[in-house]
Amino acid sequence: SQTIHQWPATLVQPVGSPLSLECTVEGTSNPNLYWYRQAAGRGLQLLFYSVGIGQISSEVPQNLSASRPQDRQFILSSKKLLLSDSGFYLCAWSGTSGANVLTFGAGSRLTVL
């Protein structure tokens, strides 16, 4: 069966520090991968998605970047965090055929102080 892992689960970072969130998927190959952000009490904002290694599409211009160095690995990064980067970050995957059902990871809670 397919599983999605996301870490770290929680982190507190000072303004101006770098960020790296990692997501891996097991049990499938060539998945579509996604990064979403959810501000407190708000909806789901799609940040990046990837249909293959090295292929990244950005939905919202911002202080963040994404990379896909391996087929089932998706990384969200920032060189210098802003206060506004605080939020709940969710990685998700979907298959490449049929219904585009998203399966989400457990999320990473980022607090920028």
């Binding site: 969710l90 585009n100 989400f104």
Partner: protein
């Protein structure tokens, strides 16, 4: 054209009551409509989904009603329980839209 409008933003229901969340869309090319359930501090999980060739889909206490002509769909939770307290997101996908479009979410609180 690509939006999915969800209402209400929040909902309080007594235990045993019916919870109803509504969504509306504009893009007639959408052909798959899932609902996600998210508990605090967790990622959303697929709850139930429907395609526009049926008007209703039921799974246990959860029912999706779909009105293709009105471009609306809704989630009904029968006999609501405190354990149903969560945020619910409707979504849609289809046509040239390759990624799910989510509604803004409804926070449901079921009071004992």
């Amino acid at each position: 054209q690509q939006q999915v409008k969800q209402s209400p933003q929040s909902l309080i229901v007594q235990k045993g009551g019916i919870s109803i969340i509504n969504c509306a869309y504009e893009n007639t090319a959408f052909d798959y409509f899932p609902w996600y359930q998210q508990f605090p501090g967790k990622g959303p999980a697929l709850l139930i989904a429907i395609r526009p060739d049926v008007s209703e889909k039921k799974e246990g206490r959860f029912t999706i009603s779909f009105n293709k002509s009105a471009k609306q769909f809704s989630l009904h939770i029968m006999d609501s329980q405190p354990g149903d307290s969560a945020t619910y997101f409707c979504a849609a996908i289809g046509g040239s839209q390759g990624n799910l479009i989510f509604g803004k979410g409804t926070k449901l609180s079921v009071k004992p």
